[in-house]
C-alpha cells in the first residue's frame, strides 16, 4: 500500500531537477544526462499509474520509453563527439551555426 501522490511528487521533483539541468548546463553531455532524468520521471509515473489502475499498458510503454531513451543517447553522444571533433568544444552556447 503506497499512496499514489507520494510517488507522483517524487516524479515531479525528478522532472523539475531535469528541467533545471537542461536549462542551466552548458556541457552537452550533462544536458543529455538531465534529459535522462526527465524521461525517468515519466517512467515512474507510468509504472505508478499502471499499478494503481492494474493495467499493464503503463509498463509496456515504460519499456518503449527506455528503448527510445537508449536510441536518443546513442545518437546524441555520436553528435556530441562529432561536434567536439570539428569544433574542439561541446559547450552548447558556443555552437551557434544554425542561429541567425
Amino acid at each position: 500500500m503506497i499512496r499514489l501522490p507520494l510517488v507522483l511528487f517524487f516524479s515531479a521533483v525528478l522532472f523539475s531537477a531535469g528541467v533545471y539541468g537542461v536549462l542551466a548546463r552548458r556541457n552537452a553531455v550533462l544536458v543529455l544526462m538531465s534529459i535522462e532524468l526527465m524521461l525517468n520521471a515519466v517512467n515512474v509515473n507510468l509504472i505508478a499509474f499502471s499499478q494503481a489502475l492494474h493495467d499493464l499498458t503503463g509498463q509496456a510503454f515504460a519499456l518503449f520509453v527506455i528503448a527510445v531513451a537508449a536510441a536518443e543517447v546513442g545518437i546524441g553522444l555520436a553528435i556530441v563527439i562529432l561536434i567536439y571533433r570539428n569544433r574542439e568544444t561541446i559547450n552548447i552556447d558556443e555552437v551557434n551555426l544554425l542561429k541567425w
Binding site: I2, A12, L14, L63
Partner: protein
C-alpha cells in the same frame, strides 16, 4: 504508513538528493556517478511497485549501458572542472523555471488527488504477462521501436565514421 511506504520514502529521498547533486555537480564524472545512484533508486522504486521486469530492464539498460555510454562520451570529449565551465549564465532563470515547473506539478497533483485517497496496491506482474501484453496488444509499437533502434544504430555508425573522401 506501511513498510512499503517507508522503503519508498528512503529510496525517493536518496534519489532526489542524487538528482540535485547531478544537476549541480562541478565535475562531470561525479555527475555521471550521481546519475547511477538516481537511476538505481528509480529501479528500486519500480521493485517496490512490484514492476519486476521493468526494474531489471532499468538496471540493465540505464545503469549498465547508458551510463557507460555517457562515461565514454565524457572520456572522448574534454571535461573541464568547475561551475563556470559547466553552467551557463542563465542559472538563476533556470532555477526559477525549475521551481515553477515543480510548483505547477505539485499544485496539479494535490488538486487531482486527495492526499490519502488513491492507494497503490501493487499486484505482482509476471514477466510472462508483460511479454504477452507486449506481443499481443502492442506489437506494432514494438516493431516501430525495433526499427527506431536499427535506424539509431546505422545513424550512430554513419555519424561517427571518418569521412574517407576528404
Amino acid at each position: 504508513m506501511s513498510a512499503q511506504e517507508y522503503a519508498f520514502v528512503v529510496l525517493a529521498l536518496v534519489g532526489t538528493v542524487a538528482a540535485f547533486r547531478l544537476v549541480t555537480a562541478r565535475n562531470v564524472v561525479h555527475a555521471a556517478l550521481y546519475l547511477v545512484v538516481t537511476l538505481a533508486m528509480v529501479g528500486g522504486v519500480y521493485l517496490i511497485l512490484a514492476a519486476e521486469f521493468v526494474a531489471w530492464v532499468q538496471i540493465l539498460i540505464y545503469v549498465g549501458a547508458i551510463v557507460i555510454l555517457f562515461l565514454f562520451g565524457l572520456m572522448l570529449t574534454k571535461a573541464p572542472i568547475g561551475r563556470e565551465a559547466l553552467d551557463n549564465q542563465q542559472r538563476g532563470i533556470a532555477l526559477l523555471v525549475g521551481l515553477g515547473v515543480l510548483a505547477g506539478l505539485v499544485f496539479l497533483i494535490q488538486n487531482a488527488f486527495h492526499w490519502s485517497d488513491p492507494k497503490i496496491q501493487p499486484i505482482h506482474v509476471t514477466t510472462g504477462a508483460l511479454g504477452e501484453s507486449l506481443f499481443r496488444q502492442y506489437v506494432l509499437p514494438f516493431e516501430a521501436v525495433s526499427f527506431l533502434l536499427l535506424a539509431a544504430l546505422i545513424g550512430a555508425i554513419v555519424l561517427s565514421r571518418k569521412d574517407e573522401r576528404s
